[in-house]
């Protein structure tokens, strides 16, 4: 059972989120039509692990880039222009590009990994959360928790409250 509360005002929404959190509801989602740093603070989201992916990707890309340039030059040795086989200046350019390419790709991977997207299963959601409403979703609530959560949300001034069965 999930409890959904939609707010028209950001401050009410944030207040509800804080109260819920203080009341021991851990499994809450805060849906908003735009990124809200305050909401992220409520959930205690600090530095995102995405950055590790970026770093790893960049390093891996750099290594792969140089390895590709140097390795393929070694596999099939074809001298050009009197240059050395492993010609550093041009290979560094390749390394540079590959660093960025892998950095970007790994950041993408990191995003998917950390955000849990794509999520194909239906999750509790209100379309207005993507327009002008701020939505609190209390997931995994059972029994009296449902009523308690509902009370907190209503007290905070929600426009609309819904209960949704979760398809666990």
């Amino acid at each position: 059972m999930a409890v959904i509360g939609a707010f028209a005002y950001e401050e009410d929404f944030l207040a509800a989120a804080e109260n819920l959190k203080a009341s021991g509801f851990d499994n809450i989602s805060l849906l908003s039509p735009l990124p809200l740093e305050e909401a992220q603070e409520v959930l205690g989201l600090g530095k995102s692990p995405v950055r590790r992916f970026s770093l790893a990707g960049a390093i891996l890309g750099g290594i792969c880039g140089f390895a590709m340039a140097a390795g393929t030059a070694l596999v099939f040795i074809l001298p050009t222009g009197g240059r050395t086989i492993i010609t550093l200046p041009p290979f560094l350019v390749i390394t540079y590009e590959m660093t960025i390419l892998f950095g970007v790709l790994f950041t993408l991977l990191g995003f998917h990994f950390v955000s849990g997207l794509p999520a194909w299963r239906d999750k509790p959601y209100l379309p207005s959360a993507n327009i002008d409403h701020f939505v609190v979703v209390v997931e995994g609530a059972a029994g009296e928790q449902v009523a308690r959560a509902e009370a907190i949300i209503r007290d905070a001034g929600a426009d609309e409250i819904r209960h949704v069965e979760e398809d666990q």
Partner: protein
């Protein structure tokens, strides 16, 4: 920031989505026209050229590179302000970016695609162009990574990938908005496009971090891309091309022409998609100031280039310089100087900077100048190389001219398709610039 008063959140959704969901006959006529022009002016001549050979173009022994390559640089250049500007402004937290960046990035993507098409048109045997990709081929041979052209392949594919990811990731929340506002097939499609985006704090948080990293990667990438394109020329020893200044020259020129391109695109969006509410004087004013700065840098580099050619004093450089300044293509050269160095100075006047129509004209002139600049680089240096006996002359054929015109139609077609598939203004970022609603307000 908003010339016509602040819209509500819901209005933002409605206004932006309306441009996608409501399509009038005008759009279809326009799309049909651009597709027709692209087909007739670009693809048909190209097909003809594929059959007879690149000789269908006007290039010859003395100038084996022609308008295809100069157009390639032009389109790569045009791509520059989109993603680069968007990323820089994102990192520096400039709020005026938010209303325009989506279309600017789209411009990047589509001009890159057009540029890539020109590579295909340029090469002699396009059916073997995959041999230049770093994939094993039937000859057991890998490409030559020492070649500046390989830098190009790597840089442009990376740039294309990064730009696509950049624009896509920035659009995911907006895809969710489209999903919510639509039904049927479109809804199903956008469900997939939006990855099941709900807008949770965690999703926003991750996207914010990822997006910042994308931006951080894209800025040096974009700088490297045009540096690399300049090295196609500068790494040769051809007089008039072999200049150290070429990388900054090309990067600056690229941002310059791209920024002017944004002004043009903004004008069109505002005019035809009725974004007057969101794209306002502040954007125009900021871009105008940026253009002035860029034009001054561009002029400075140009003077530097002339100076170093002259100061070097070799017969090679002087002859190339002479051909450029007073040779057959001198009128084009001076046209470029007029359009790119002097016309932009008009924007010093706030009256002009604040006028949409005048800015449109200036931005188009700048891009004509930049198109010429690339042509001048290609067409005036090669025919004046080292052996005077091999001095020659190059004039584009009608096929090249037609393909050049067609490329603009391709770009326009892609852009027209884009505005129906992706919200051309970032919905959520515009909301960020609005003052948050307060109960007491």
């Amino acid at each position: 920031m908003f010339d016509h008063g602040q819209p509500s959140y819901a209005e933002v959704n409605k206004d932006v989505l309306a441009t996608m969901l409501e399509t009038g006959p005008k759009y279809w006529i326009l799309l049909g026209t651009t597709m027709g022009v692209a087909g007739i002016c670009f693809f048909m001549p190209w097909f003809y050229q594929l059959i007879v050979g690149v000789g269908a173009a006007g290039m010859n022994r003395n100038a084996v590179w022609g308008t295809y390559l100069s157009n390639f640089i032009f389109w790569i250049g045009l791509s520059h302000s989109g993603t680069l500007l968007s990323a820089v402004l994102h990192i520096t937290n400039s709020p005026w970016r938010k209303a325009i960046y989506r279309s600017a990035e789209a411009m990047t993507l589509f001009s890159l695609m057009t540029a890539a098409l020109f590579v295909m048109v340029h090469v002699g045997r396009v059916w073997f162009v995959h041999w230049s990709f770093p994939i094993p081929n039937q000859m057991g041979l890998w490409p030559n990574f020492r070649s500046p052209l390989m830098f190009d392949v790597m840089a442009i594919t990376t740039y294309l990938t990064a730009s696509s990811i950049f624009i896509y990731m920035g659009s995911v929340p907006d895809f969710a908005a489209v999903r919510d506002a639509s039904t049927g097939l479109r809804r199903r499609l956008y469900t997939i496009f939006s990855f099941g985006w709900r807008g949770t704090a965690r999703e926003w948080h991750t996207l914010g971090w990822a997006y910042t990293f994308f931006a951080v990667f894209v800025v040096p990438l974009a700088v490297s891309v045009h540096s690399i394109v300049s090295w196609d020329f500068a790494l040769s020893i051809v007089p008039g091309l072999h200049h150290t200044i070429f990388a900054p020259y090309f990067v600056c020129g690229a941002i310059y022409s791209g920024t002017a391109g944004i002004v043009t695109v903004m004008y069109c969006l505002r005019k035809f998609l009725h974004f007057e509410k969101y794209i306002g004087q502040v954007h125009l004013d900021s871009l105008g100031k940026l253009l002035i700065a860029l034009s001054l840098i561009w002029s400075y580099i140009n003077i530097l280039e002339l100076f170093s050619s002259w100061y070097g004093g070799t017969s090679f450089e002087l002859e190339a310089l002479k051909f450029r300044l007073i040779g057959f293509y001198a009128p084009l050269y001076w046209e470029m100087i007029l359009f790119c160095a002097f016309v932009p100075l008009l924007m010093l006047s706030k009256k002009i900077r604040w006028s949409w129509n005048k800015m449109l004209v200036i931005s188009i002139l700048i891009n004509i100048g930049m198109l010429t600049e690339r042509f001048i680089i290609v067409a005036t240096s090669q025919p004046r190389k080292f052996l005077p006996d091999a001095f020659g002359f190059y004039f584009p054929s009608w096929i090249e001219i037609s393909i050049t015109i067609g490329s603009f139609a391709i770009f326009a077609t892609l852009f027209l398709i884009f505005i129906k598939w992706v919200p051309s203004i970032s919905i959520y970022e515009v909301k960020e610039t609005l003052k948050p609603l307060r109960r007491d307000a």
